[in-house]
């Protein structure tokens, strides 16, 4: 897609990374907005991985982009999961789980990961900034 078409489509097309994180861990016991990712000016954020580092999280995770909830009340399954046992409530992004794609925001949009109560295990995630 050309740069012009990209701009018309609101930044759609191939995501080109300018920064990629290593795995970031959030200690168990975290609550509220546990992570806020703000892309560089004119850039976008891409969430490439999100999972529990241990057992299934009993807390409920919500992901927002630009203040809008795009995933609500998901239980994070442990890294390495290839089968989601109960299906509807559980979530893993990346980490070899085959069916859940990365999530990215628009230009200058902030991505937040929230939880309703204290997390019951370490949460891990990876992300990229780019355009």
């Amino acid at each position: 897609m050309s740069e012009l078409l990209n701009s018309i489509a609101g930044g759609g097309g191939v995501f080109v990374a300018s920064f990629a994180s290593k795995t970031v861990s959030i200690p168990l016991g975290s609550t509220g907005t546990i992570t806020t990712l703000t892309p560089p000016a004119g850039g976008r954020v891409l969430l490439t991985g999100l999972a529990s580092g241990g057992v299934l999280q009993t807390s409920l995770t919500t992901i927002t982009i630009n203040g809008i909830d795009i995933i609500t009340d998901a239980k994070l399954d442990q890294v390495g999961s290839t089968v989601i046992a109960s299906g509807v409530d559980e979530l893993v992004i990346g980490y070899s789980f085959p069916n859940q794609q990365s999530i990215y925001g628009g230009i200058n949009e902030v991505l937040e990961i929230k939880t309703n109560v204290s997390t019951s295990a370490v949460t891990i995630y990876t992300y990229q900034f780019g355009a």
Binding site: S18, F19, S21, V24, I26, P27, L28, G29, S30, G32, T33, I34, T35, T36, L37, T38, P39, P40, A41, G43, V45, Y127, F129
Partner: protein, 45 residues
């Protein structure tokens, strides 16, 4: 690294953080922001 003190972002180092501090790290031209919680270290039995 910066942490939020009385509504202002102030330069700090990791050792300055205490439980509940909101802090952010500059990476790749953007920011990664979290609340600090002392990690629980499990001791071998």
């Amino acid at each position: 690294m910066q942490k939020l003190i009385d509504g202002l972002w102030v330069e700090c180092v990791y050792e300055d953080l205490i439980d509940g501090d909101l802090y952010k790290i500059s990476v790749g031209g953007g920011w990664q922001q979290q609340t600090f919680i002392t990690p629980i270290i499990e001791e071998a039995v």
